[in-house]
């Protein structure tokens, strides 16, 4: 798989994928005009990872997601959940700022839907 690097913008997060790390990092705020278009390639990347890798970590540190970005994150986490359900070591590390109740609530919300290991880590 090829490395991916998308720089952050005002309304979209920084996205980094390095095949050697088996890790996808998403960091920043997310409220793009059309979040489905923005995340479409990341969904594909995640599906490919589920096919090819035995282990994978989603590292997320977002301070704000708008409603439609939240739905896209749900989709992305669902794909990771598929990997976990195939018996692979797929997990989520969710970092948040302790002052940011929204980020923490989002994490709890996502975690409640999912069965894969979901670590909520304050920093």
């Amino acid at each position: 798989m090829e490395a991916v690097k998308i720089d952050a913008t005002k309304s979209s997060p920084k996205i980094m994928f390095k095949p050697e790390d088996r890790k996808l990092k998403i960091k920043g705020e997310s409220y793009p005009e059309d979040s489905f278009s923005f995340y479409e390639d990341i969904f594909e990347l995640m599906e490919e990872a589920v096919e090819k890798y035995q282990s994978f970590t989603l590292e997320i540190e977002v301070s704000y997601l708008n409603t439609s970005s939240t739905k896209s994150f749900m989709t992305l986490l669902d794909i990771a959940e598929d990997g976990f359900k195939q018996g692979k070591e797929f997990s989520v590390d969710w970092y948040y700022n302790e002052e940011n109740e929204h980020a923490y609530e989002l994490a709890l919300d996502f975690k409640s839907y999912l069965e894969l290991p979901f670590n909520i880590i304050p920093n």
């Binding site: 301070s63 109740e101 929204h102 839907y113």
Partner: protein, 671 residues
């Protein structure tokens, strides 16, 4: 135009300065060289001149001296001095004297016999024939003093120069001492020689730049144009200790020494002529001196070289030189102007035209030198620039035309889109209920509905059914036009469910809404399409008779006043209408006593708005605090405060999401 930094004035300055310096140096060199040459020539001339004069003076005098000596040595004469009155001897002696008289240049002689001091004399006209004894010298007579002095001091012969004021003649007297056989001085024989002719010849040279002087070993002047300096006799003078004028009285100390040095060098080194430079009356003179041994005199000439060489004699030459050099300078400056400066000025003017953007001109310099070639290059350059400029202008024109066309099309399209959206806004507004129509249920209320764009995904919904009033705030996925389409669909679905099934229980209604929306939105979806739409909602049902409010929520909360606090009921963590929304999900029902409470619902657009000093989310805590601070005010005022608050918080940030906030107070049941 002309300034002092222009090339023209610089070159002119340089040429003039060079001209002046060169002229000064050349003229100085010429002057010095000429002066040296003239001095050289003057020296040579002086030497020749002196030698000639020396000969001219010496030769006749020496002859006379020799003759006088011979006379004094004649045996007859000698014997006569011993025996003056011997007639035979006297006759023979007079014969002898008369014979010598014919040979003397002056045709005169004198003869003195010491024993008697008798003075014999005859002259050219033979005036005293047979009467040669003229008188007897008297020791006590001042006039005769010379004889006795000479006899005492002179051993061979002496020369005396006498200036006769009355006759205005200068005579040199040659006095030769006569000895007897025993070697005793017994008399004196001699002759006079009129020096006038020699001296006049000497003192009046052909050239007016020569001043001749004669002086003796002590410096007493013997001949000089200024006769004051000449005394009757040098010897007489020295004896009488008169303060006679010497050559040295004419000179300053330094020059006196110079002359003395030359005099001694003539004596010691046997040089014929010596020269030196002295000042006479503050004018430079070349002095040439020679010694005449026979006279024991020095002859000197002072040469005024400035009379020989005068720089002003060269005036015509100098003027010619200056004029021709000046002409040369003018010609050079003229040609520098013509060949260099004027073309450069032309070029400068030309480049200024180019700088001003005028590429149409061509420069014309008809010369094949460097400047001509430069002008040629300039012309080439401007024509290239002209060509490029024209091309660019054409290109810009073409592009502008295209852009204008595109712009027109774009603004046309934009207008069309905006028209559409404006119309959509009108339609969306039409589904929003008029809250004032529900006076029966609501005592006061405010509604703040502010989509991020012209239309949005937020809306509120009010419906009366079976003595109940249903109030809902809905946040559909997305905003703008897509969001507004969702609101239209949702509005229709809600109305249909309520009208068709008379459902007024919020939890059941949400469940039904979820099922119908999923059916409606995902009819053709397979799982591969990740786009997913749905909504969050707070739904309240007001039952006036029972004095209670029933609430159910899907990811949206209800806030209400309780004493001095705001309480919050979180909606269920189950969105509505999404693919993953569970169709069998049972929403939680909450019942709240309406007693004099305010109820508030907000979409997350208010809570998520970024701004403030730290550019952070507004957030729920702050929202609840805001409500608590203002809960006792009337709701209309509260609505205005909440609008101002979020707008102030937003500042210059953009609105991130659609915002809807409602607040209401329910009328108590009719008693």
């Amino acid at each position: 135009m002309e300034n002092k930094n222009s090339m023209k004035s610089q070159i002119t300055k340089i040429v003039i300065i060079t001209y002046i310096i060169t002229s000064l140096v050349s003229f100085s060199l010429i002057y010095i060289t000429l002066n040296n040459k003239v001095e050289d020539l003057g020296t040579k001339f002086s030497i020749q001149y002196l030698l000639k004069e020396k000969n001219r003076i010496t030769t006749p005098i020496e002859r006379e001296i020799a003759l006088a000596q011979k006379l004094a040595d004649t045996p007859t004469i000698k014997k006569w001095t011993q025996n003056e009155y011997d007639k035979e001897l006297k006759m023979r002696a007079i014969e002898e004297l008369e014979s010598y008289r014919k040979h003397f240049r002056d045709n005169s002689y004198f003869f003195i016999i010491d024993s008697s001091a008798n003075y014999y004399f005859n002259n050219k006209s033979n005036e005293f024939e047979d009467n040669q004894l003229r008188y007897t010298l008297d020791k006590n007579n001042e006039k005769d003093e010379w004889y006795f002095a000479t006899m005492k001091e002179v051993d061979d012969y002496t020369l005396n120069v006498n200036y006769d004021r009355e006759l205005n003649t200068t005579k040199i007297w040659i006095d030769a001492i006569v000895y007897n056989a025993k070697g005793e001085k017994t008399g004196m024989a001699g002759t006079g020689l009129t020096l006038d002719k020699f001296l006049n010849d000497f003192l009046k040279p052909d050239s007016n730049f020569i001043t001749p002087i004669m002086f003796d070993q002590n410096g007493f002047v013997q001949a000089y144009k200024n006769e004051e300096y000449i005394k009757l006799s040098a010897i007489t003078a020295s004896l009488s200790e008169e303060k006679n004028k010497t050559i040295f009285d004419l000179l300053n100390n330094e020059d006196q020494n110079k002359i003395k040095n030359v005099m001694s060098s003539l004596q010691n080194e046997k040089k014929e002529v010596g020269t030196t430079k002295i000042n006479l009356n503050n004018e430079s003179r070349l002095a040439a001196i020679s010694f005449i041994p026979t006279l024991n005199w020095y002859i000197m000439i002072l040469l005024d070289s400035s009379e020989i060489f005068n720089i002003w004699d060269f005036t015509p030459t100098i003027i010619t030189l200056i004029t021709s050099m000046l002409l040369l300078v003018i010609v050079i400056v003229y040609f520098i102007n013509k060949i260099v400066i004027n073309p450069i000025n032309q070029l400068t003017g030309f480049t200024e035209e180019i700088a001003a953007g005028n590429y149409e001109k061509n420069i014309s310099i008809d010369s094949e030198n460097e400047i001509g070639r430069l002008a040629g290059s300039f012309n080439k350059m401007t024509s290239t620039v002209r060509k490029h400029t024209n091309n660019l202008e054409q290109l810009v024109e073409d592009r502008t035309e295209k852009l204008t066309k595109t712009n027109k099309e774009l603004s046309k399209k934009n207008k069309k889109i905006m028209d559409n959206i404006n119309y959509a806004k009108y339609i969306q507004h039409s589904i929003l209920p008029d809250v004032n129509k529900y006076d029966d249920y609501l005592e006061e209320q405010f509604i703040y509905w502010s989509p991020r764009d012209l239309v949005g995904g937020d809306f509120y919904w009010i419906k009366e059914i079976e003595n109940r009033l249903l109030i809902a705030v809905i946040d559909c996925t997305g905003h703008g036009v897509p969001g507004s389409l969702m609101t239209m669909t949702t509005n229709a679905v809600l109305n249909r469910i309520v009208d068709k099934n008379s459902i007024h229980d919020p939890a059941i209604l949400l469940n039904k809404l979820n099922i119908v929306l999923k059916e409606t939105l995902h009819k053709n979806n397979d799982k591969k399409i990740k786009r997913d739409d749905g909504l969050d909602i707070s739904l309240c049902s007001i039952n006036k008779q029972e004095s209670k409010l029933v609430y159910a929520g899907a990811k949206m909360s209800l806030y209400y006043t309780s004493d001095d606090q705001i309480k919050r009921i979180s909606g269920d963590k189950q969105s509505i209408g999404y693919q993953y929304s569970k169709e069998d999900y049972e929403f939680t029902t909450h019942e709240i006593d309406i007693k004099n409470r305010n109820f508030y619902i907000t979409t997350d657009g208010y809570l998520d708005q970024h701004g403030g000093e730290k550019d952070k989310r507004y957030n729920r805590k702050r929202f609840i605090k805001l409500l608590e601070e203002n809960m006792h005010k009337d709701l209309k005022t509260q609505g205005e405060i909440y609008i101002d608050e979020i707008e102030e918080y937003m500042g210059t940030n953009e609105q991130r999401d659609d915002i809807t906030v409602i607040g209401f107070k329910i009328k108590p049941p009719n008693k």
